[in-house]
């Protein structure tokens, strides 16, 4: 994939979305597209509305204006639990795993759905424990006892239990050690190979450019620029414009 996906290939399309937190006008008409199986980056400084964009798509915040379309059907205003069932996974910025539940129970919140056969359950669990052996070791430990990096793994693994078509990943590498950052990079690649689309919000530019096919740049609640990741270098002035201090 090089340019923006065609309509048949489009998984998520949001157009002209405005979102308010109380009286604060956070999103001023955001528009972007994610194709099936595509990894798309969303870059920008703190506070420009990247997380809010993900939250709006996930239904955690209701937009005041604009449309959100998933697999050709409008989803704005639907409750998050319906969206999760339809194939949207969400990994929030502060991980937010269920601290008092064990690792296994955390995974089960996504795994315990109707339509999952026992065989499939085993498959999914085996897969996740293969990618995240640390989680397998700690499967009966409470989520709150895990380290930051392990919690991030758990948050992603938990979303994977939903067998989503797209995962909304909010700053997964924040606060992680370099070794874990490369693990995140590998996970994104694995998910991409499996055909899961990812909308990746990040501040880590090299990782985002390497892992994604396209990137959007946000500023002041709007998408201002769009580029093909492979055509951008890390020292490109555009990067500095939207992410520099």
């Amino acid at each position: 994939m090089t340019a923006a996906p065609s309509p048949e290939q489009t998984l998520v399309k949001i157009e002209g979305v405005h979102t308010f937190y109380g009286k604060s006008h956070i999103l001023h008409g955001v528009s972007l597209v994610v194709g099936k199986g595509e990894v798309v980056g969303l870059l920008g400084r703190n506070g420009v509305g990247k997380s809010t964009t993900l939250k709006t798509i996930m239904g955690l915040v209701t937009p005041s204006q604009g449309s959100i379309v998933f697999e050709g059907k409008p989803i704005a205003g639907l409750p998050p639990h319906k969206l999760a069932r339809q194939g949207l996974g969400y990994v929030p910025e502060d991980r937010r795993i269920f601290k008092l539940l064990t690792v296994m129970e955390n995974l089960r919140t996504g795994l315990d759905r109707s339509g999952v056969t026992d065989a499939r359950r085993k498959e999914l669990l085996d897969k996740v424990f293969t990618y995240f052996p640390r989680l397998a070791e700690r499967r009966d430990q409470a989520g709150g006892t895990l380290s930051g990096g392990e919690q991030q793994m758990l948050a992603i693994a938990r979303a994977m239990m939903l067998e989503p078509k797209i995962i909304l990943l909010d700053e997964p590498t924040e606060g992680l050690m370099p070794r874990m950052v490369s693990q995140i990079r590998e996970i994104v690649e694995v998910l991409h190979r499996e055909g899961v689309a990812i909308l990746l919000v990040e501040q880590n530019v090299p990782l985002t450019l390497a892992a994604s096919q396209r990137v959007y740049f946000m500023e002041k609640g709007e998408v201002r620029h769009h580029a093909i990741s492979s055509e951008l270098k890390v020292d490109d002035p555009v990067i500095h414009q939207y992410l520099g201090v």
């Binding site: 955690l60 639990h81 795993i97 129970e105 919140t109 938990r158 939903l162």
Partner: protein, 290 residues
Amino acid sequence: MAIPWDLIVIQTVNGIVTGMILALVASGLTLIFGIMDVVNFAHGELFMMGAYIGVVVLVASGSFWIALVLSVISVALLGAAMQIVTLRPLVGRDPLTTILATFGISLILQNYALWQFGPVARKIQEPITGQFTLFYLQYPWYRLLIAALSAAIIGGLYLFLKYGRYGIWIRATTQDRVMAQAMGIPVPWVHTAVFAIGAGMAAASGVLFGPLVGVNHAMGLDWVLKAFIVVVVGGMGNLGGSIAAAIFISLLEAYAAIFVSPAQAVIVSFVVLILTLLFRPTGLFVPTPK
């Protein structure tokens, strides 16, 4: 003054029995508060309706146990209906509104009961008569049965919450409502289910307690007050704390009743509440104050 050991033992047993019923009522209340931040002022009336339905079914069927089961089911459904009609529209609004709405429901239920059943108290016949000798008293077996059944129900709740898919759903929703939704858990229905469970537990308490006191339309009032005190003392949302607090307060009251009249012994629970609020406001039985 000679220590009345026999009285103390008798009152200990009484305290535990009352404490278990109170724990059953309070668990429902704290579960509801813990998961959806709703202070259910109508909880005492659910207890009362449970007792009345128990009376009606007992008369119709002749079996205490059928009365217990049917009462729990119907009040659970009543609770679910309550939650869907009056509490769901209030999600996200000022918490004051849920207090007002449930208060309104409590008035409606009380008056309904008064209208339907009249002011004269009804009686539920206990399923097992028969007593054993405790010191100089003939102590009814039924009271021990109440304590055992309450413990069993609470134990069942604990197991349900700890294992089982829906238990995980409920615990996840209690911890993080938003992420639970993001994981596909139908949180609005979890709320309704929990409210129904709490209501059912209140109804069970009503039926179990029925034979000990008369069943009348105002019986909920005392219990709702005590239950709130227990929930606050035990730590709001803390299931284990409520149970411990229920037994603790009931024991203290039972001991106090040795020296003063029962009407005055209730002051004990008030004093405990005040002390808790002054010194450990997050709850007496909460391990670390947050």
